[in-house]
Symmetry: C2
Amino acid sequence: MRYCVIMCGGVGSRFWPFSREERPKQFLDFFGSGRSLLQLTFDRVLEVVPAERILLVTNHRYADLIRTQLPEVPAENILLEPARRNTAPCICWAARHIAALDPEASIVTLPSDHLVLKEKAFHTALRRGFEFVEAADRLLTLGIKPTSPQTGYGYIQQGAPVADTPDFFKVKSFTEKPDLELAKVFLDSGEFFWNAGIFLWKAKSILDAFNLHDPETAQVFDAGDGLYATPDEIPFIEKNFPNAPSNSIDYAIMEKARNVYVETVDLGWSDLGSWKALYETSPHDAEGNVTQNCRVLHHNCQDTIFAIDRADRIVVASGLKDYVVADAGNALLICPIAEEQRIRQVVNDVKERFGDDFI
Amino acid sequence: MRYCVIMCGGVGSRFWPFSREERPKQFLDFFGSGRSLLQLTFDRVLEVVPAERILLVTNHRYADLIRTQLPEVPAENILLEPARRNTAPCICWAARHIAALDPEASIVTLPSDHLVLKEKAFHTALRRGFEFVEAADRLLTLGIKPTSPQTGYGYIQQGAPVADTPDFFKVKSFTEKPDLELAKVFLDSGEFFWNAGIFLWKAKSILDAFNLHDPETAQVFDAGDGLYATPDEIPFIEKNFPNAPSNSIDYAIMEKARNVYVETVDLGWSDLGSWKALYETSPHDAEGNVTQNCRVLHHNCQDTIFAIDRADRIVVASGLKDYVVADAGNALLICPIAEEQRIRQVVNDVKERFGDDFI
């Protein structure tokens, strides 16, 4: 049967002061739609995988948030990591858990905090992807057709096409985030696709790949054989999960395995990884300003994004160009969009200077 | 005996969003000292005039605020105007009221929302001023020695010195706010002083001046003869005060009377009439930024004033130069200091667009 694993344990600080340690990005209602990014992701997957087979893997500190936001998810479908170990251990555990429920299961694994505007294309991509990985021992990643020379994304280079299966290719290489010049070359080549972190495989295929390419992680979880999906799973994980090395699935498996494929898709996708990305995916007024879920009176402002977390507040702004104005909870951020890479540093500075209450 | 009249009925919108219709500037704790500008004014006068002879004239809507902020003021010392009529009717009524208590009284009349840094000089100036107006039928205004070519103030030009009384001069002229070029000429001449709106006279002298120069106003209040400082005063005022023409004391009396004098003083004074004025009177950091009663982490900001009304909030700002960042209640203002003349217009726009809750 088909399963879904939504990874929702991240602590993004790039949207501070909106995202906070206690309430990271995936739990925020970014677009004022009434649903958080996690809820939107869940809704989006429901068309393809039923709620009872959607698993959420997260850090234990977010358990309550998830139960509140997704009450329809059965308690046993929430896998709580006792420590942060990046995506590889998370994916290995989830695959073990699902294999215990159904050894023949296939799985789509995806982040909880991305934007997908083309829902139908997403559903089609997932269904085609499931068929593709169920037909053979294959690891599949979705590659997003790039629309601009983004420097914030990793890229996947396509290799040989798969016979009789349009849009599916062997993966030739994974690349790190390029500089702008290289990103332009990638875009023009037509061979490079954004790595969206959306993966499909059979449980068996990914577990085999762990045995082969990341045996250290595989062994940590092999030790729990027979305990998964039983009452003994939680104590086992509590004790052993922290022993798994911290690693990303890209480094641990995808860049090493030989049976890696890419399905190239056009999903209206953004990782919403930065204010710039959010700016680009949001509707603009005539002066290029974006008002994110708030009321703003602006004069002589251009290409500026305004975000406030309280509907009962207003902003009056004048003379800002290419700025982020983000007002949330007990903090207000006013900074040029171009400097947003500094936000992570800023959050550290804030912590040092003003304490934990502000991060 | 010596009396003081503190005028505290103004609705300044220039410090929006800090000042609001329901809580104008004089009631705000601008400097985080724990005392509002009104309270600071009251404290400052107490050295010269005892509490029981300090009167407060204000709009009826601020009665509760005043009682809360100055519980030591006897209820009968709060004169509530039933309508806004600028300073002339306010001063005429207060003089009538005081004359009924003591026909020989002398009075200092002053605004409630100014800054005076040199308290001792202020006390000396008031004592010398009282002696000066008690000695003859004279109307006296304080003239502040200018320290820069301010375009936001009216100026007083000194005339002939008063014999044996240093710092006292006949007034040659009152001028409107000058442009920068003229303000520089004024400053260089040494003959021009800022008009601080602080006046001294005997009750009898100012009432005589009203009869002579503003008979329309004088007649409105003459009709209440015998009622002042009795229980019948309030109903009389409720009914008749609105009939007085709206006019400033400068236009109604000071620019017309022949017995007008100026006492030139150095008080460390500012009318705090604008963010710029507040900026100039506040301590700056190395980059010229002012943080008004708040916590700010700034990077690459210059000559910017940050004001927040809540101690539990922080601001992180980058790349602002010559800006005002003012965050108070349900509104946030970010605008170049040079544009602050627009704030009054902005407040109107806000009212039109978002409603009364924000002004």
